[in-house]
Symmetry: C2
Subunit: 476 residues, 2 copies
């Protein structure tokens, strides 16, 4: 117990709770939650970070609440013993968000998966945080509705809100920031905050909704979400197109957006990624940068959008622009993009990978990607690039031997250079993956000291004991 720790020290990270504190919390939780408390090594490790190179730091125990009221009980018990809590969705976050560096309790929301209400006329729904995006879209399909945010993994929506996730559709539909209307969260003191009513807009006080979106569980535990929905488009067209250079592909992206074409998806794969695809799927695509585009609208609208895009692409020296509207044809055209992750891994079977994530103003994107490609060549890495280029966001996937310290060090330095490059171009160290543990060290490079101080002040105000997912986001 840290009774003597002052507020500032608390904000800089708690010490690991004493065995007595963990014992008290475990006993209390077992009495209330029975076999929904798990302390086995395997489950604890599965609830620490399991992806990429960040070491696994398991919690002391895992509890599976079913309601907001149960989360309140857990939080009050942990707070009474000053035991850290780490909210857990599906564990697909990439920067060490779910690790428990100070031990404590992982609060697994996977049993909180009720879809409480769908309001079709209002284009919103109310859900619990353990609902995944695929579950939700399955539920919505027959109503002609969908939730657009697609980070790749079938992540929980609570986790997606917490990391401010986005993905391929963000260029048109925005990120989680834009698609959470309201949320319920349990604060460190056990109080339950509901951030907003269900009206589509409001000016009634501070935007606590957006404060919790992207807070990675460091300000409280999200237990309910009201999300915006969209009508499934009447028609979709999708196409692919090769380009002589990254610059040409980026210029076409800029021109497309500037011309007001409401592109739903515009994805870049670089030549290295296409090479991987050709090996993996035997596709025989030209090994050049490629754009994958998708348009949503009316039959006539999506044809017009595809045609106009094709005209723009041709002006910048693109290869043939092939586009289709039938689902099976669209799937075929986009196959290379869908397989990108596995194709990249097939370049070096058994290798580890790390999906980096930076975002720059789109005017700097080509420069940032091309410099990164030169860096890859000079460093001698296998590292394909894909990008949500409509947002200026791209991922590099270096493949490496995780057991070879020299190789790990080389990749770490490479990732560091990507972040520095993005920051030098008015960009951000993370467009959509979040900070977690792994990107904390870049925050002082990205934000002025006063900005980090303001973030620390907000954190301290809402979690004075620093028991909500400590050791994440804000460096001490």
């Amino acid at each position: 117990m840290q009774a003597g720790t002052d507020a500032l020290n608390a904000a800089q990270g708690p010490a690991r709770p004493t065995p007595e504190a963990i014992e008290a919390v475990t006993g209390g939780l077992l009495r209330q939650f029975g076999n929904r408390v798990v302390t086995s090594q395997a489950v604890r490790e599965q609830h620490g970070h399991t992806l990429t190179w960040t070491p696994n730091q398991p919690p002391d125990l895992v509890v599976f609440p079913e309601t907001t009221a149960e989360v309140v009980k857990i939080v009050k018990l942990c707070a009474a013993h000053r035991v850290p809590m780490v909210p857990f969705g599906t564990g697909t976050s990439l920067e060490g968000h779910v690790n428990a560096p100070f031990g404590g309790v992982s609060i697994d929301t996977s049993l909180m998966k009720r879809i409480i209400a769908v309001h079709a006329e209002d284009l919103d729904c109310v859900i619990e945080p353990g609902v995944t995006r695929k579950m939700l879209n399955e539920h919505l399909r027959d109503m002609g509705l969908f939730f657009p945010i697609d980070p790749g993994a079938d992540a929980s929506l609570g986790g997606m809100a917490s990391t401010r996730a986005s993905g391929t559709n963000a260029v048109r539909y925005g990120t989680m920031k834009d698609n959470v209307l309201s949320l319920t969260a349990v604060l460190a003191n056990g109080e339950v905050v509901k951030t907003a009513r269900r009206a589509k807009k409001s000016s009634a006080g501070y935007d606590l909704t957006r404060l919790f979106v992207g807070a990675e569980g460091t300000l409280g535990i999200i237990t309910e979400l009201t999300l915006k929905l969209h009508g499934i488009p009447e028609a979709i067209s999708a196409g692919v197109c090769s380009f002589p250079s990254i610059a040409a592909a980026c210029d076409v992206t800029i021109a497309t957006i500037q011309s007001g074409i409401p592109v739903a998806r515009i994805e870049l794969a670089d030549a290295a990624q296409i090479r991987a695809i050709n090996l993996y799927s035997k596709l025989g695509l030209p090994e050049q940068p490629m754009l994958f585009v998708e348009f949503h609208g009316t039959d006539q609208g999506v044809r017009e959008q595809a045609e106009r895009f094709g005209e723009i692409a041709a002006e910048y020296g693109a290869g043939a622009f092939e586009w289709e509207t039938k689902p099976e044809d669209r799937t075929r055209l986009w196959q290379a993009r869908h397989d990108a992750y596995w194709a990249a891994h097939a370049l070096r079977p058994g290798a580890k990978s790390l999906s980096t994530d930076v975002c720059v103003p789109i005017s700097r994107l080509a420069e940032c990607v091309e410099e990164t490609q030169r860096d890859i060549a000079e460093t001698g890495l296998l590292a394909p690039i894909v990008g949500h280029v409509g947002d200026g966001n791209f991922h590099v996937l270096p493949l490496f031997d995780g057991d070879d310290p020299a190789e790990v060090a080389k990749v770490k330095a490479f990732v560091e250079r990507i972040v520095e490059r993005a920051l030098a171009m008015e960009g951000t160290c993370t467009g959509e993956h979040g900070v977690g543990q792994a990107k904390m060290k870049y925050l002082p490079l990205e934000h002025p000291a006063a900005t980090l101080d303001a973030m620390r002040a907000v954190k301290l105000a809402l979690d004075p004991m620093n028991i909500m997912n400590p050791g994440k986001i804000i460096p001490s």
Copy 2:
């Protein structure tokens, strides 16, 4: 001076500073800012609230800074003497936002009106907070760009950010929350916070941008804004249509949005408003609820959108749907909407008016508007209604004799009933005007106590002496 006041009392509102404190600040500012410090009664009153029935509460003095560095100097001086500060844009806010209930310094940003940069490829611009939306759009026009948020008044963009303003275009382009990419603010301690880089999206820490948007100057003074821009649409179509009932007009709005038509504006005027228009502009319109719509896109797209809207409207028993694409024809069709405010006032020359502002889930909108109309009839008021119905947001404009206490009391009670009605329908007490002084009392009805406590904690963390626009937003 309140040296002995503890943090909690400070958060509940400071006492008025002593004459000595004001004298010290005035002297210090005069030395640094010379004739950019104004203490005349007329200018002070003009910087207090001058609209509607909220009484004028002038600041002790007004200062006109030109740079962020100058704002820092003002803030540090005021903080040293614990003197309240009230940021001022154009004074067009409607809920007493710029009043100085505890006196202090009005910081008028009207000299901070530089457009620092326009990044056409990135669709963003960097501006100072005193730039008004019309100034900005004037500057952007030749570049084929525009900033869509239109709250009616030619407000300053700093003020629009601070009140989370929106208006007619919000149904398509969102509110200020969605269109501020980053901002610079001077905190109560004189530190300068920059909330984000210029990348289109980021997951790098707490969303301080959205925390300052809508904070009404209570957390700091915005001194720079990076705003998202949009391409001026290639084509615009606009139309009008009468409906047999409010319900029919609202149902058509819902069906239009559900069907995925990306309507840029969809505005309702009720029969009372149309009656006012007919009297004011001699238009001879059918005195029924009317929708005004506007579509942005390609030539072909805006035709298709208008035609589809017309089909939907016809299904719900609408009158003839007239639509046009040429600017002069569009202006003619929308004339009634553009003149709405002045037409309403002409119903009772010399009367005061109050523009109320509530927002409900769109599925409840017809019910909310119709109950309000019955209330108007039963109360015996002249009170036309217009609404940004795509967002479920509407304004009622009761006209009254501001010198007749009985009439003022009647209108106050009426406004209170509108807010209660909206809240009972999962709505908000303000969709876009903000809280200011006048709507503070509704916040405990809208938000749970824990939510208000969390807002208070954030306020106290960033402004422990409560010197930033005290007496606004959060009730003590």
